[in-house]
Amino acid sequence: MKVITNIGKYFIMLRYVFSRPERFKIYKNRVFNEIEIIGLSSIPLVALLSGFMGAVMTLQTAANMSSPLLPIETIGYITRQTTILEFSPTVISLILAGKIGSNIASEVGTMRVTEQIDALEIMGVNSLGYLVLPKILAGIVTFPFVIIISMATSLIGGLLAGVQSGLVTQEDYIKGLRYWFMPGDINYALIKAVVFAFLITSIASFYGYYTKGGALDVGKSSTQAVVFSSIAILVANFILTNLILL
């Protein structure tokens, strides 16, 4: 019952989030600030994770290719497909749900328990629009770039690991990367990135905004934000895969 109530509250929240901003210039500045917090600050973590994961994917693929009938380029091909279709858009989004989701929920939750949101409301500011809309816009704008960076570093990581270990040559790996490449896969990944960005920022904001109590409850909201945005990503991933790929 509580889940249904929360879903209803979530959609009511979205209605206020997307109502007309009071002062466009201020919102624009806030969007740029959020782009820095949500997008740019995530790049080092994403690059590090993606580079190592790409390397491991290449090594795992090579280690499990026991049939001599499989061409060696398959290593690059499988690393590319895994990275573009699932690892970068979905797994990285799940990781960012932890980083960004908890950050947003704790920031907004702290503003709630310290009455900063009440202060906004009493001034006549649409607090949901002011606080949440810039985060959603920043997420939607930056996530595709972050995911592209993830793809690139993952494939580079795979190349370095494959070549350094001697399991595949640079030429064979790149040949595999180019093999049967479909640009539509990139579109699919970027659509997922935009949807996941929306889910992470809005769900985390929801749990932060409706925090009640004190510091302990901010922690609980932060945990709930990560758990429910992760679940939402997995469900959306399933739906989008059915809609776009099949």
Binding site: E22, R23, T114, E115, Q116, E121, I122, M123, G124
Partner: protein, 253 residues
């Protein structure tokens, strides 16, 4: 003037405000006092619209706030300044930016004009050369003064102060009390202060409403509250030994 007419409020099955009626005049410091959990903060939150009333009316100079939609309420809210218990300053903004915030949201002032107004408000609360500090770098008393400066930045008609002295030492508390009183008289605002601090009652209470168990139990002036025979008020006012001594002295005279 703010009028509260027959306001009732429930939280679940708990009836927390029972038929509250009150008038708060302009140019006076109006106090809502009562013990913890009596309903005084809920009363204030209903007046400013942070809680919706179940029945009754809130009138701002005759304008029925309870029946207004969000957009019309916004117009009245631009006339309201509020000092919160924890100051509620925006952590990520400097002192100056905090005071300039309502101006940047709702006026067409240039940046220089906003800065000038912010400096005027900060000077009014005796804070100079602190513009670039963050709230976390300021003391509790300074934060309250910044909160007052932000509250008066838009030149409000109505000022609300929720426990303005909580967490402050007695000397700083008196400074804040006097500041609220001076600003109220100077700008002829309708000021409502929610407090349980008897020093504030004696210092600034022009008109006092005592809330007990969700009901308006008593109403009067600071002189009258010291002489009343109402048992619940006496239990509240003379709770400390110090106040009991004062009561003894009053009795002798």
């Amino acid at each position: 003037m703010i009028e509260v007419v027959g306001v009732n409020k429930h939280f679940g099955v708990a009836h927390v405000l029972k038929d509250i009626n009150a008038k708060f005049s302009a140019g006076k410091v109006n106090l809502i006092i009562g013990a913890s959990g009596s309903g005084k903060s809920v009363t204030a939150k209903c007046i400013v619209g942070l809680h919706e009333v179940d029945s009754g009316q809130i009138l701002y100079d005759g304008r029925n706030f309870t029946e207004m939609d969000r957009n019309h309420r916004k117009e009245i809210r631009k006339e309201i300044g509020m000092l919160f218990q924890g100051s509620a300053l925006f952590d990520s903004l400097t002192v100056e930016q905090n005071v300039m915030f309502p101006l940047s949201m709702f006026t067409e002032m240039s940046k220089d004009e906003m800065r000038e107004r912010a400096n005027f408000c900060l000077e009014r609360v005796n804070l100079t050369n602190k513009n670039n500090l963050l709230p976390a770098e300021c003391s509790g008393g300074m934060q309250k003064r910044i909160g007052i400066a932000r509250a008066i930045a838009m030149n409000p008609k109505y000022l609300f102060c929720d426990e303005p002295n909580s967490g402050l030492d007695p000397k700083t508390a008196i400074v804040i009390d006097n500041l609220i009183k001076e600003i109220t008289y100077e700008y002829q605002m309708t000021t409502i202060v929610i407090t349980h601090d008897m020093n504030s009652v004696i210092e600034i209470g022009d008109h006092i409403i005592f809330i007990h168990k969700g009901q308006k139990w008593w109403e009067g002036t600071k002189e009258e509250i010291l002489k009343t025979h109402n048992q619940e008020i006496n239990d509240f006012v003379y709770a400390s030994d110090f106040m009991k001594e004062i009561k003894g002295m009053l009795g002798k005279h």
